[in-house]
Symmetry: C2
Subunit: 291 residues, 2 copies
Amino acid sequence: MERPGTVAIIGVGLIGGSIGMALRSKGMAGRVIGVGRDATRLEVARQLGAVDEIETNLGRGVAEADVAVVCTPVTRIVEDCMEAARLGPTGILVTDAGSTKARIVSGVESDLRGRDCFVGAHPIAGSERQGAGSGRADLFEGRCCVLTPTDRTPPDRLDRARLFWSGLGCQIVEVDPIDHDDRLALTSHLPHVVAAALAGSVPVEMLRLAAGAYRDGTRVASADAALWSGIFLENRSSVLNAIEEFGSRIDQFCQALRSGDEASLIAWWEEGRSRRNCFAERSRSNDSLPV
Amino acid sequence: MERPGTVAIIGVGLIGGSIGMALRSKGMAGRVIGVGRDATRLEVARQLGAVDEIETNLGRGVAEADVAVVCTPVTRIVEDCMEAARLGPTGILVTDAGSTKARIVSGVESDLRGRDCFVGAHPIAGSERQGAGSGRADLFEGRCCVLTPTDRTPPDRLDRARLFWSGLGCQIVEVDPIDHDDRLALTSHLPHVVAAALAGSVPVEMLRLAAGAYRDGTRVASADAALWSGIFLENRSSVLNAIEEFGSRIDQFCQALRSGDEASLIAWWEEGRSRRNCFAERSRSNDSLPV
């Protein structure tokens, strides 16, 4: 496993903070530098033990970094990656933790310096909560991290990115950036849209009659609005396709219900049920089937 | 609090089993008799401590009961309530735990003997799991139980039903049976439809890229198909209305996303988010606002 001497984490929220905690608890880095625009929030991250040092200037933050990992909102990642590539040492590995990949990867790769040191990444872990205060050193343990190398990705950086993310506890999966966005639209972005739509469908005065199904079905609706709007806009067409797929399943249900067709309702339910059970089974066995 | 000497639980699955465990752990009943068609399952419930005695004949099971609580699937509740009313002692209170109320209440009340001893009830607690083995004595603690008295409900039975369900730990809410079904369509039946549709929207080979949002959003999809198909069919028009409400929220989202309107996406998300946060707040404070 690579032991990067110095890691700069750009954006020390839930994901960036958890990366810092994992690096420090595993002794994976000599120095962990938290880089951000808000000195107060950085100081909180430092006191939480997520980073060793803090820096509000990106150039100074990455000046001696072996690895820069960009954990800012998806709308800022391209710019932050290019800055880190331009201002860091020649040998720097720049990687990110963005929930979308196609625009980010093509954006960073449109820059010569960016292309030479960048590997797109998406650790599939998180929470509806925000901030380093909700971070956990074990957030990535056993979770998938999707790397999205292209034919322009330098092989040595790809190797180092594999070591970096697997060192944090992730199982590595490698997928084309566009495939990543299509798949995550179904596995993550759709569940977020559905949770928020479900949450908003129940009038306040009826919430007292809501229980576990509403509670769990809407948990992620308490996530940050700007963060998720950014992700949806970045992945617009794939998200719309995913909603269409979901909508056609809802339509099938309504058709069966309207016609009072019990056998079709049961068959429809069993399809969802077996998919859900399959997911639960894989989670239990921590299966590493190829994507 | 009423101390019913003998309670017959008709249908000893998750809900019936939990009622038995709660009655016994609170010393609320001298005898708890589990009534069902499957002697093997009843024996399991007895060994789990959910009931004192078991009986496969409904008439014998309710012969000395002060209270009969019917926890069979919604499609069988009317018949089981009428049987319990007909075969139990004159003073018996018959109540149920069905997830729908309009057809059940009008069905039982269409029977003279049924009307004289019945109070419709729906404890809003449960799980995606089945069977007394998943039961818990504290399942009802602090949860709402909706009672659905009508102008035909005998006042003494209503008083006894309040004492019975509040004795199990429930907070009592009283609502018209039709209102109950309209509201539960939104707060419970819709979340179940959405969970199953979401579960089925993600192809098996992509499940590895699913994480917490999919996991929680689909949890209840692993519930029993026949049980839920029965509930949907019983509450058909209210469920279809609830889906329409949900669908219009999804449509609003798609419109904002298609036009790349970030401000509308954020406003849309915030509506769901504030509703979800309101739910979480109420759950924490165990608020007892009227419905």
